[in-house]
Symmetry: C2
Subunit: 339 residues, 2 copies
């Protein structure tokens, strides 16, 4: 009754054809998704620009915004990281740097953090790029470790960012990625991560992130994309697609043993796709209580910042704005309703 | 060093002005967001249409897709609901029905479920509409309870959907919402919910959902939008905005005591914004193992469905596809990587 009987006629071969058609349709969805990202950036570019100008005049804007971040990001911000943010985090920008690159992807993005002079590192800017890349059996974001010039005795990652940068340099000189595991830099980083497994990694470990799977170069990705296109063209033309010779490519290595910041792609995605577009909302949460702004808090904040800067002590933003903090589980789109 | 001293000059009054400017900028972001939704629907309309045609030929497409849904939705699907889905859930559609309505919002959407004749209810279609509405201190999705014509002794919600429909009818006749709590229908539903608090509500309880806050009518919402617009116009013109006479409007009532399906707005949003656009991906997960399709499973599925339909027994899709199931925490965008 519930279903007609056409389904009973389907052989595994017919189902295989159906799955090929499904793959074709999926690729159309992907194209549409890329168009949507491009159009979204086009529509939002002027408001992002206006916001960047506006927040220049708001002290601690990005520090306060990051303090209100969703739990999936907040869990990765250690107390020392908050100290750094409160002291010297000044500018922040997300950009879709491959938007107009025919070989690139509109899903690629970068997070660019700007810092004032500080006691921890020399860099004024730390830019972390995430490239959306493909392999035959995986697609997702990969990244190159970013060198942080830590001041003496101030490395919040205990040498992990440096070791990741070293491995990456060595890795790109090895033609066959399966030989990467024999590199001394690979063993060194894997061991460093293993021995520090109990300690919470600093948020700055994100700059060492490589992949949720393994490093995928632009060349490998282009080849995989090309292969996909050829298979789709065959399906379109009604030709038979060769069954996966990829089996031989099976790689049992777990490259995650050298990943400094597991889940870094997801954290970065939440920052790019939620915090960046909704930054004003997150910032406002700092001052909201029962959905209203509180003049008293505004002046308290002003006084506290005054005192802090004059005494030369750290600005403890967390304590400063703590009382105005909202339940982190509350979606930012909604104001808190009255109790 | 970290911050210049300009911030020290800011008085609470200046900060208030800054917040007004921030509100203005936020409203521009909202406009951009609405444009993005409209453009997204425009870009995706052809692929959604093609998909609707395509999945007509795939038995159990929506049942299998909902079986692969993210945990935030799956937690609300009880074993009996799965039985219903496996037996008679046939078509599904999400639409942004206020996209071109100047008084409506592109954020409003409806979930339309199509069913074959079945033993539980008479309805062939159950359509749940969610309107994006505003009040002075809250904005979000509200909905009207949908009447489900349960067959005798088959009401999976134990009378909750009927009671919610009855309350809603009575509510719309009361001019002052604060008097709603005195209605016998209000008390009846509140009591019903209280006494059934220990049992898990059926997914069909979603059709009774009203709001994460309280019911907000189109008229109230329009007034609030109008008021916001006037305030923004004043800010733009550099005029002082009157300070909230809304305080008197404080309403201590917790209308959630008559909410049959708390969190229904969030569940519906995940269905509309994740499952609907990514349905092909979720469906494919049914058959994926280590990122590959498995011919054996495809033919097993076919055989099992055959047997089931012939014996007239329930189709236990969950058991049927269980072995091909992926880790629910894995984001759908990525294929599982090889172990």
């Amino acid at each position: 009754m519930a279903h007609d009987h056409a389904e009973h006629e389907q052989t595994p071969e017919q189902l295989q054809v159906q799955f090929e058609q499904l793959g074709l349709l999926e690729s159309k969805f992907e194209d549409a998704e890329e168009q949507v990202i491009r159009k979204t950036e086009e529509i939002k570019a002027p408001v992002y620009k206006e916001r960047t100008e506006f927040v220049k005049n708001i002290p601690h804007f990005w520090t306060l915004t990051f303090e209100q971040c969703p739990p999936e990001v907040e869990n990765f911000i250690q107390p020392t990281d908050s100290e750094v943010f409160a002291d010297c985090f000044e500018t922040f920008e997300v950009s879709r740097f491959e938007l107009d690159d025919p070989k690139g992807s509109p899903k690629s993005f970068s997070l660019k953090f700007g810092f004032a002079e500080n006691e921890w590192f020399e860099n004024k800017t730390l830019e972390k790029k995430f490239w959306y890349r493909h392999t035959q059996d995986w697609d997702g974001l990969v990244s190159e470790p970013v060198k942080i010039n830590w001041k003496k005795g101030k490395d919040l990652t205990g040498g992990l960012t440096d070791a990741a940068v070293k491995l990456h340099k060595a890795r790109t000189k090895v033609a066959d990625r399966k030989k990467e595991t024999a590199l001394p830099e690979y063993k060194e980083l894997a061991k460093k991560i293993e021995t520090s497994a109990d300690a919470s990694v600093s948020f700055f470990g994100l700059f060492a992130f490589v992949s949720g799977y393994r490093w995928v170069s632009a060349e490998e990705s282009e080849k995989a994309v090309q292969k996909d296109k050829e298979a789709l063209a065959k399906i379109k033309a009604g030709k038979k697609v060769d069954e996966e010779e990829e089996e031989e490519d099976e790689d049992p290595q777990d490259y995650q043993e050298t990943e400094v910041f597991p889940g870094g792609d997801e954290v970065a995605t939440i920052i790019a796709e939620d915090m960046w577009p909704n930054a004003l909302r997150y910032y406002k949460q700092t001052f909201e209580q029962d959905g209203e702004f509180d003049d008293e808090e505004l002046s308290e904040l002003e006084v506290d910042m005054d005192e802090d800067d004059e005494s030369g002590e750290e600005v403890d933003i967390r304590a400063l704005v703590g009382k105005g903090k909202k339940d982190k589980d509350e979606p930012p789109a909604k104001k808190q309703r009255k109790a």
